[in-house]
């Protein structure tokens, strides 16, 4: 019985050490502190802040349309 118990105990000890060693190795690559999760409420959102970005997105059409027109002109020539 004793001869059976000893290898089992050794195996258990080894697995504990292996886990600790692996955690210690991770310690050299600690994540940056990303801080706690930010609280956000609907009142924090202000639709007016989106206007410059909506405007830029809407205007992007103009440049792509211009590019398309330029490309089709080149094709015609």
């Amino acid at each position: 019985m004793k001869s059976f118990t000893l290898p089992v105990v050794l195996l258990l000890l080894l697995s504990v050490f292996a886990t600790r060693l692996s955690r210690a190795a991770d310690g050299g690559n600690q994540p940056l502190d990303v801080g706690p999760q930010a609280r956000f409420s609907a009142d924090n959102f202000d639709w007016r802040e989106m206007i410059p970005y909506l405007s830029a997105a809407a205007a992007r059409h103009q440049s792509s349309a211009g590019e398309l027109e330029g490309a089709s002109r080149l094709c015609r020539e």
Binding site: Q30, Q37, A38, S41, P52, Y53, L54, S55
Partner: protein
């Protein structure tokens, strides 16, 4: 548009923070060169790339904001491919934001209207270059804001 939306940026940043909690195993903050803002940009780029749908003369991205407590349950951006219009829509997740809070923040609406089962509060901002409107759908029963739809239409310059 989505990359600059405060609501989506906070949601994605919280998602990243959530992954770095001690009991979670997928923390990207361990990677070399990691910055929270950079990772947020990267993920939003991915959301736009994977979610972009080209429909009838429009391009749109619809993204559910789920998996964490958040005041919005969905965000959608839509852009006309024919005209110089862009839209952003936010669906509220709960009934905690009310028309009273809305008016405390933005003042009296430019216009109000009542449809079959909801009312709308409209605000607008015009400039020489664009006309922008925010339409807040409100449940008339409890005054809860249900949806926010922002539109912007570029004005044609006199030269055109």
């Amino acid at each position: 548009m989505l990359e600059n939306s405060k609501a989506l940026r906070v949601f994605v940043a919280n998602e990243i923070r959530g992954e770095c909690l001690p009991d979670k195993g997928r923390c990207v903050a361990k990677r070399e060169g990691f910055t929270l803002e950079g990772e947020v940009d990267k993920r939003i780029d991915g959301i736009v790339r994977e979610g972009m749908v080209h429909g009838h003369k429009t391009a749109s991205v619809d993204y559910p904001l789920q998996g964490q407590p958040f005041p919005f349950s969905e965000i959608a951006a839509l852009k006309s491919e024919k005209r110089q219009d862009a839209y952003l829509i936010l669906q509220l997740a709960d009934r905690n934001y009310t028309a009273a809070q809305l008016q405390a923040k933005y003042g009296a609406p430019y216009d109000t209207n009542i449809f079959q089962w909801y009312s709308v509060f409209t605000y607008r901002l015009d400039s020489a270059a664009y006309a922008s409107k925010a339409v807040f759908e409100v449940d008339p029963v409890d005054g809860a804001v249900i949806k926010i739809a922002i539109s912007l239409k570029a004005k044609k310059s006199k030269k055109d």
